[in-house]
Symmetry: C2
Subunit: 396 residues, 2 copies
């Protein structure tokens, strides 16, 4: 199934759509000013967008006078994207509309202990069931974004980052899922998806370029430059969780030593908690994610031992944030993912302080730190944004 | 003085010029194929490029047959750029032609101990003297690129990265130098310039996206994505020298702790050498750069103590290269700058080994490591490339 869109074959169409989506009601004249296109070109493109139902005309009073002007706004329900977050223990499906708003969500059994072919057949079935259950016209769904932790091979559409799922690294995930569903499929990294999701959804006041720290069981980041993901050669850019904080540190499963993830991740926090006798249920009864959430909740409620565990993690994440900012020189870091869902405010505080004190270019410009509002589903929502962007507003 | 070029106001002109420059003789048909432009558009643009003398028609036999085909090649001497590397102890000036080839070079007294205004007046004078001495038509010089270590403020055209030159941080360098010379001026970071210089000069077989590790007294990097510098918000991206290798490490002048630079830079190597009783002239008689070059020469000639000092530095730089690659996922690292001029091969070996063993995505793709051939003047040559690119082949 081709990713070349039947909807929008011309990049400038997608560009206008992108502006209309992200800036809200906007006039044709403003579109011409912002893009440098002639008014005639804008009118022609807008006619196509109106015909396809992507945008609506909304009459709004001009704030500078009483004269009413025809404004254009996105028509959110014209098209939908499917976002899938593939994990060993669980698969999350979301459906978002063209404005990035979630219109459906469901969870299924994880990918562990089954062959890729069986998992993909199940995903295809569950995806179509979800579309059906939501009553969406199948043709209004533009495609599927499916994301996992890195390393991934973006061009080949393969994943190999799930430690317990080694046989996926040779499996042609994009092709197989596309064949099974008859839909365009984009395969990418969870953290990259989360970053594009923040941009596409516009939930925080994000500029066009920013970094998104993503914390789930591990820690990664996605880098957005001028509204596009900075991917590097295979879309593994932003692996801040495997930047070493201590070159003499403990070996990491990635092959490096002293990686941030080993000091700061939720898994590390739970390990440290158990080692220090912090009261948690036995590992058979409580997963690492559940245990981390419990520690985070206690930390927020001022339990001293829990607070210490989370603050230690936040101090390490802040070290990573300084490295991330020194490497990218961006002026906004958004925190997304389940790891920030409960105690995110503590992380924001530590990261903000560290950047104010130690970022290389702090005298040239500040760096803002914000919490995403879609923490738990950031990767799945972002996966849907990836396919919506790819199909509806492709970038050069 | 405006940076909007009188020569090439249309981006697609610059794009064709970029392809002709970087791929050598190329036919109009190939240009149409590579750009997606129609043959008629290509012909129109090429006519403009020919009229302005930027390209020449060169008849070359088609390798697939006896039929001769009209090919287009860059006309290197049509335009020139000035590159200036501003340092406390020395200012280096180079002139390069449109193909990135150096046609002139000169060095002047550094910026230390004089006010920015006096230094800029001197730079303006020395620049015009150099153009005159080389007999270049003044109008053939498109502008000046001037670079320094970060932090810099790209949009404001200011530098503040010279530790001994603190009063430059508020000085409007770009405006003042532009006014003093009547020429367009670009202010940027030394490492970013070195990276763009590698791309523009095409001296190593660089792909469009790569990272350039730049080592002089400190260590930095420049990141090139699709032929453009990745700058972040103020062009301080790539500050790998201030990514911490050891969060418990010694404080750095940048405000961070355990920065790569403090373990690995030429200055650190000389400090370590002196501390361990390595025989070097007294600091009053031999600068850190000279001392480092002496150690590097001895290391290349198998002096065990010198070899140990350089290998220790190379091991740390390799740690930094792993972080750089994990953050960018690029598949080529070029080593440039005076720090790699003598013992670069030792650094290449350590970095290659570390990336093969520990880079996060090493199973997805390899990372090539190459030495630049313009090591000593990489920043100045790159500064010239920055202004040539900005004026002749501006990117969106």
């Amino acid at each position: 199934v081709s990713l070349v869109s039947e909807d929008l074959e011309v990049p400038s169409h997608g560009r206008l759509l992108d502006i209309i989506r992200s800036t809200g009601p906007v006039s044709r004249i403003e579109l011409a000013e912002r893009t440098g296109l002639t008014r005639a070109s804008v009118s022609n493109i807008v006619r196509v967008l109106l015909e396809r139902g992507f945008v609506d005309e909304v009459g709004l009073a001009d704030s500078r006078g009483g004269k009413r002007r025809t404004m254009l706004a996105i028509s959110p329900a014209a098209r939908f994207g499917i976002g899938i977050h593939l994990k060993a223990d669980q698969i999350t499906y979301v459906v978002t509309n063209m404005a990035g708003g979630m219109v459906g969500r469901q969870q299924g059994r994880g990918a562990r202990d089954q062959s890729p072919a069986i998992v993909v057949a199940r995903i295809a079935h569950e995806t179509e069931t979800l579309i059906d259950k939501l009553g969406l016209p199948p043709a209004a769904v533009v495609g599927i974004g499916i994301v996992a932790p890195g390393p991934i091979d973006y061009a080949a559409g393969k994943i190999s980052g799930l430690p317990t799922l080694v046989d996926w690294s040779e499996y042609p995930l994009r092709e197989e899922l596309s064949q099974a569903t008859g839909r365009p499929v984009v395969v990418d990294k969870d953290a990259t998806a989360a970053a594009i999701g923040e941009f596409w959804g516009g939930r925080v006041d994000v500029p066009l370029s920013f970094a998104c720290l993503y914390m789930e069981q591990g820690i990664g980041s996605g880098i957005v430059v001028d509204g596009s993901a900075f991917r590097g050669s295979a879309s593994n850019a932003g692996e801040i969780g495997h930047v070493s904080l201590d070159f003499r540190g403990p070996p990491c499963r990635c092959g490096n030593r002293g990686c941030l993830e080993n000091f700061a991740s939720p898994v590390a926090v739970v390990r440290n908690a158990r080692a220090s006798g912090f009261p948690l249920g036995p590992p058979e009864e409580i997963s690492d994610s559940q245990a981390f959430d419990e520690i985070a909740r206690l930390a927020v409620n001022h339990d001293p031992a829990a607070r210490k565990l989370i603050e230690d993690s936040a101090a390490y994440v802040a070290e990573g944030a300084v490295s991330l900012v020194n490497m990218t020189d961006l002026d906004l870091v958004v925190l997304a993912g389940p790891g920030f869902a409960i105690a995110g405010a503590i992380y924001v505080e530590f990261i903000r302080d560290a950047l104010n004190e130690r970022a290389f270019a702090r005298k040239t410009h500040g760096v803002d730190v914000k919490l995403s509002t879609t923490s738990r589903d950031a990767a799945a929502v972002g996966a849907s944004a990836l396919v919506l962007q790819r199909v509806l507003a492709p970038r050069a």
